[in-house]
Amino acid sequence: MISQVFILSSKGDRLVYKDFRGEIGSDAVGLFYDKVTALTGDQPPVVMTHRNIHFVHVWQGGLYLVATTTAADSSPFAIIDFLNRLAALIKDYCGALSEKTVQMNFALIYELLDEMLDYGYVQSTSCDVLKNFIQTEAQSSRPFSLLDLANVGLFGADTQQSKVAPSSAATRPLQGGKSEIFVDVVERMSVVMSSNGMPMKAEVEGEVKVKCFLPGCSEIRIGLNEDLSVGSSHLAGYGGAVRVDECAFHPAVRLDDFEAHRILRLSPSQGEQSVMQYRLADRLPLAPPFRLFPTIEKDNAGRLLMFFKLRCNLPPKSSAVNVSASVRVPKGCISLSQELSSPDQSAELQPHNRAVIWKIPRFPGGTQLSASFKLDIPGLSSASTLEVGPVGMTFELPKVTASGLHVRFLRLAPTQHRGPTQRWVRYVTHSDSYAIRI
């Protein structure tokens, strides 16, 4: 049971505050802010307590969304989920979640909260249900402008290409938009590679999201790869088949045609929803996207020499963007000299993290880059070369899915709608944790 919900700006200003049960005074807001700002990095921020008040919060869009409760049997999962839904709903209604949109639409948010929670019991978080009750009109922060391209985020890399929708599409409020529908396949990959390039662990977590701007959309049909197999033992060894270990579906998805034709049918409500979540471990269909060939030695002058060759294993048409590799170096490094294979790359030493960060803004598939670093470390011993630790990489792979999952088609039921509907399908893979051991 949720006792209060409040939204705070990053500076701790109250933007929205609603008490549902009258158990806790409004001084909880101050208490929360004091606590959350006093947290150190290694303390789990999930649940904080003060006497018998428990604070659960999420941090989204530069805002704290906080719920308090006094009941020991409340489920932190439910509360976090609820807050995430609240954030998503605010995005759906107001176009974005920011201090400004919340301020502009506080009356709407109060109304939403009133319908979502009653006496602390969550009633509904479904956009479809809620829109029957909501009276207030949303205020959009500003019309679409090119400036929005600055905060491109997820799909930012290829905005110039006409086939990809401008990212601002995703930050428009629902009401009164164009008739558009987006299907996004978003994957996160975590890989641990041993020093000889063998993947020791590889895992992909993916999600098919539908963002629908059509009011009262009837049924859509999403066709996935026909050879998609679910479950680990099934069809293994026949190569090429796209496989996921497990998947879970949104309760509204009808799976009548899933077994036979891999078609998901659903009537999306307005706003964003995660239609399918899946997971795939070990045996990935493609080789991991990056492979590193390190050479590490000590030179006569007592400096540590690191020479890296990094190869991108993507198909030549694709490329990775925003690639960054972080190499752990022995403690006590004082300076770095570098030689990089092309001018757009950069590297810097971060002594407090004991790391060298090597950045590559764009890395086409099938190519190879190299970098050589010289580190000055006073009192370098031969054992120190052992301290050169694993390389962690972060990157984005636009238009690529690591699992090979693709959307064959996206069909709307023919009957409805006056105007033509624009349909978009987008793919992206992110690094979740990509570590290469040396």
Binding site: D19, P45, T69, T70, F106
Partner: protein, 954 residues
């Protein structure tokens, strides 16, 4: 114009301006004004002065404006109760509005106005709304009952709202059901004993049906409610599980976790051999793994829950080790939690993988994490014996890195490894000593000092090392000081000649110069020990230490059970029961897991109650106590032995003797009904009370399990027919004892060790005033009562005396182990003799090990503790041998026949809790048996073998 402007006005006279705007005729202007008011309210400004003006705006048909006004009302009604009454009429009117949205809004808001005076006006509208035709209104009204109950519980009961609410559980709309369940659950919580939420198979069925239809949030309420239900039997439990299982694939993790909670709880009732049980275990793993793909915050919550689940049922996730491997960009709190789970899942099968990971982690940047990783390596070594060697070498590698905190952690865990596997890895001590200077943390220093003291005889310069620590004695922390004191005393006992000065120095530092009472006390104890009886000091200080247990940081089982019942809640994140962090009046009930399969018996049956009463009754109130006291004195004294089984046997004794001694033969089979009948009678209570040393505390533990249990246990007790009692031998010849001749033997009858003696007077005069005393011995044997020789023994007369013994006397290791030195006194003199007792009389009745435990223990005991013996000329077959041994409490746990060779696996337990495990091999047709004995205390093996020989050959 957007709403953000509302936040910017802070001018003076603002209230005045707002007032004017609120009273404007234009709807739009009014609406804008109310919005401004609410904006001010949000940022914490006091706008209560505008109450009447805002309430005036309430009568409107604009729903948006109405909602805003209600929002204001909820916030300020409490501070303006009199004004709030003004709004009542509108509420009542709105409750009859044709628009269901307005009806629901009015009911919802009224409930939130926490003003007593308003509640009475609320009743009629609420009653109507509970029966409204629109489910939206009904579900809102259901919640309103809970709100009203919080304000005025009596009113809710008087008005009969609770019954209406109960009816709503059967509503056709699942949302209404869910809210009714939520409201009832909350109300029931404040009346723990009311039968408000009457869960019976019918309502459960309704809930399960609603579960499939309602929203995810409703599912959570229903699942949480289901978790409070206790199914009648395993079949009902299974059918509920089957219907809950589909929830595991829900996208909402809170639903998943609530379902996991229900399943974990009901699984307790399923028999483990059921196919469905295995299926269920398999089904639980994937959803738990999926929880880990969420954001770090949710991952953390999931991991805390998984930690509990893994402790309760490790088999669920035993194949999923990889998902708990740490990602380099996990936040530290996630990393630590994963590490903990990795250790809990570590087993022989995956230990190589785990160790490789841990070694990798030990080179990370984050100091806390590295420390934990090093500790984890040590915990692996202790948990999985096969890996110990690799763990130790990994730790040595890490010590070579010379990274200060890694070395210190490594030393701390190596100390534990020494404790677990004595005499195995001491070769690494030299390496450890090299790092002595770099240790600056108390824990590491203390660990190192312990190692030096413990192995002083193998470290040539141990005295120098310890002396170096002594210089800054007073600057050390208490932990180090205590350790140093003990280590030096150990050193002294091992190398007394060279270290006399050192020990005196440390004793004076500890006793004279320190003001820490612990340190001083320990110092004095050592000092006295050393000065009075160095041999005793050796016994104490260099005593064999018990091996450390495998997992030290497990959550205590009862707490774990309670936490399992709270999976998914805050309690599972804190790992504390709700009672530990909830203050205030709301009653917190301790939840328990249901009993295990098939019993179908309520844990809190009335039997337990009466048993508890019977045992708690103090002896003084029982009228027959005096009379019984003397009569029972002799036979009841054995109850002074410690440990749970002896009380049960004492109980047997009591019951038996009350009924006369002739019932011995009935004991094995009929004691259960017998005991059952006697359970409540005062006589048996007197029996409990009679021996002063066996006070009530020792009985409260078994009694909590119910008297029935006690007797169940007793059911296995003693089969006097089969017990082997060696023939009497001459212990004390008359020559040596001025005419007193004693021959005797030892036996175990009905769970009591007895010394049976024949005293013969071969002197010329009458002997009287017999008394007996034992010297300290290996198992603490001592007379449980005085030697009962009531009549004087005249010349040439023989008299039989039976002396019951207990095992709570002082202990000293004897050579041979079963040697007993006895002093007997009579009116003439004191005589000493020594005899040897068969160790089999110390085998207790509950020495039968569970098969699994046996297997695990057998593997756990190192090979070098195994002793093999040949038993020649034994002409029994395996089964006969087994039953014969059983008579002496050597229990056969399993029998295997391989290539004509019978192998019996047997266990026995000594009175001091030492388990002995045996493997008996018999080849058909070959009179020679092979007995292999494994025991943590290998010294007993020889004696145990002698007992085998004695029992089997007689």
């Amino acid at each position: 114009m957007t709403d953000s402007k509302y936040f910017t006005t802070t001018k003076k006279g603002e209230i005045f301006e707002l007032k004017a705007e609120l009273n404007s005729d234009k709807k739009e202007k009014k609406k804008e004004a109310v919005k401004k008011v609410i904006a001010s309210m949000t940022v914490g400004k006091d706008v209560s002065a505008l109450f009447p003006d805002v309430v005036n705006c309430m009568q409107t048909d604009n729903l948006e404006l109405k909602k805003l006004v209600y929002l204001y009302l909820m916030n300020y009604a409490k501070s303006q109760p009199d004004m709030a009454i003004m709004a009542v009429n509108t509420f009542v009117k709105d409750c009859e509005d044709p628009n269901p949205l307005i009806r629901a809004l009015a009911v919802r808001t009224m409930g939130c106005i926490r003003v007593d005076k308003i509640t009475e006006y609320l009743c009629e509208p609420l009653r109507k709304c509970l029966k409204d035709e629109d489910p939206y209104v009904r579900k809102t009204a259901a919640v309103c009952v809970a709100k009203l109950h919080d304000i005025n519980a009596q009113l809710v009961e008087d008005q009969g709202f609770l019954d209406t609410l109960k009816d709503l559980i059967s509503d056709s709309n699942p949302m209404v059901v869910a809210n009714a369940v939520a409201a009832l659950s909350e109300i029931a919580e404040s009346h723990p004993n009311s039968n408000l939420l009457d869960l019976n198979p019918q309502t459960i069925n309704k809930l399960l049906t609603a579960l499939n239809e309602c929203t995810e949030w409703g599912q959570i309420f229903i699942l949480d409610c289901l978790a409070n239900y206790t199914p009648r039997d395993d079949r009902e439990s299974q059918s509920i599980c089957e219907r809950v299982t589909p929830r595991l694939s829900h996208a909402n993790s809170a639903v998943v976790l609530s379902a996991v909670k229900v399943l974990m709880k009901f699984m307790e009732m399923l028999p483990k051999d059921l196919d469905y049980y295995g299926t269920l275990l398999k089904k639980l793993a994937p959803p738990l793994v999926t929880l880990l793909s969420a954001e770090p915050e949710l991952q953390y919550v999931a991991l805390r829950n998984i930690n509990l689940i893994v402790q309760r049922r490790p088999e669920i996730l035993k194949h999923e080790m990889k998902v708990f491997f740490v990602k380099y960009n996990d936040p530290i709190y996630v990393k630590l939690e994963k590490l903990d789970i990795m250790i809990r899942l570590a087993s022989q099968a995956n230990i190589a993988q785990v160790l490789a990971e841990l070694k990798e982690y030990a080179t990370e940047v984050d100091v806390d994490f590295v420390r934990k990783a090093v500790r984890a390596i040590g915990r692996c070594a202790i948990k999985v014996e096969q890996s110990a060697e690799r763990c130790v070498s990994t730790l040595l590698d890490l010590i070579q890195t010379k990274v200060n905190y890694v070395v210190q952690e490594a030393i701390v865990v190596i100390k534990d490894i020494f404790r677990k596997y004595p005499n195995k890895y001491e070769s690494v001590i030299a390496t450890l000593c090299e790092n002595l200077d770099s240790l600056d943390e108390p824990e590491a220093r203390a660990a190192m000092i312990w190692i030096v003291g413990e192995y002083a005889e193998r470290i040539d310069n141990a005295d120098e090392l310890l002396e170096s620590f002594l210089e800054g004695f007073h600057d050390e922390s208490t932990q180090v000081q205590l350790q140093l004191l003990t280590a030096i005393v150990k050193l002294f006992l091992k190398k007394p000649t060279e270290t006399q000065e050192l020990v005196q120095q440390v004793l004076s530092l500890a006793t004279q110069d320190s003001d820490n009472p612990d340190l001083r006390d320990r110092g004095y104890i050592y000092w006295r020990l050393l000065s009075t009886d160095p041999a005793a000091a050796k016994e104490v200080v260099l005593a064999e230490k018990p091996l450390i247990s495998e997992e030290t940081d497990l959550i205590e089982p009862t707490l774990l059970e309670e936490l399992i019942c709270h999976i998914g809640t805050l309690a599972s994140v804190y790992h504390k029961p709700p009672s530990a962090f909830v203050e205030g009046s709301r009653g917190v009930q301790h939840k328990r897991l249901p009993g295990s399969a098939g019993s179908g018996e309520n844990v809190e049956s009335p039997d337990t109650g009466s048993a508890a009463v019977a045992s708690e009754a103090p002896p003084a109130v029982i009228p027959s106590q005096d009379l019984l006291g003397d009569l029972l004195n002799l036979d009841l004294t054995p109850t002074t032995t410690t440990g749970p089984p002896p009380p049960s046997s004492g109980m047997q004794m009591g019951a038996m003797d009350l009924l006369g001694g002739g019932l011995d033969s009935l004991m094995g089979d009929e004691s259960e009904p017998l005991g059952g009948d006697l359970g409540g009678s005062p006589a048996i209570t007197a029996g409990f009370g009679a021996p002063p040393t066996a006070g009530p505390p020792s009985f409260t533990a078994p009694v909590s399990g119910g008297l029935d249990d006690l007797f169940d246990l007793g059911g296995g007790v003693g089969m006097p027919m089969g017990v082997y009692v060696p023939p009497k031998t001459l212990w004390l010849p008359a020559m040596k004892a001025k005419g007193l001749e004693i021959s005797g033997t030892f036996g175990r009858r009905a769970g009591v060790v007895q010394m049976e003696m024949t005293l013969t007077n071969k002197a010329m005069s009458v002997m009287t005033d017999f008394a007996i005393q034992f010297n300290r011995n290996s198992f603490g044997l001592a007379p449980a009562g005085p030697l009962q020789v009531l009549t004087p023994v005249s010349p040439n007369q023989s008299i039989e005396a039976v002396l019951p013994l207990n095992t709570v006397g002082p202990v000293m290791k004897m050579e041979p182990l079963n040697n007993l030195q006895v002093a007997v006194k009579n009116n003439i003199d004191v005589f000493y003799f020594s005899c040897q007792y068969p160790i089999s009389m110390l085998f207790v009745e509950d020495g039968k090990m569970e098969r699994q435990v046996f297997l695990a223990t057998w593997k756990d005991i190192p090979n070098e503790n195994e002793s093999k013996f040949q038993l020649n000329d034994c002409h029994l077959n395996a089964d006969a041998a087994s039953s014969k041994l059983q008579g002496s409490n050597i229990f056969t746990i399993a029998k295997r026949t391989v290539e004509g060779q019978d192998m019996l696996y047997q266990s026995m337990k000594l009175t001091n809790g030492i388990w002995v495990l045996a493997e008996l091999r018999a080849q058909a047709g070959n009179p020679n048996y092979t007995v292999s004995l494994r025991c943590r205390a290998p010294e007993v093996s020889q004696c145990v073998f002698q007992s085998y020989e004695a029992v089997l050959k007689n």
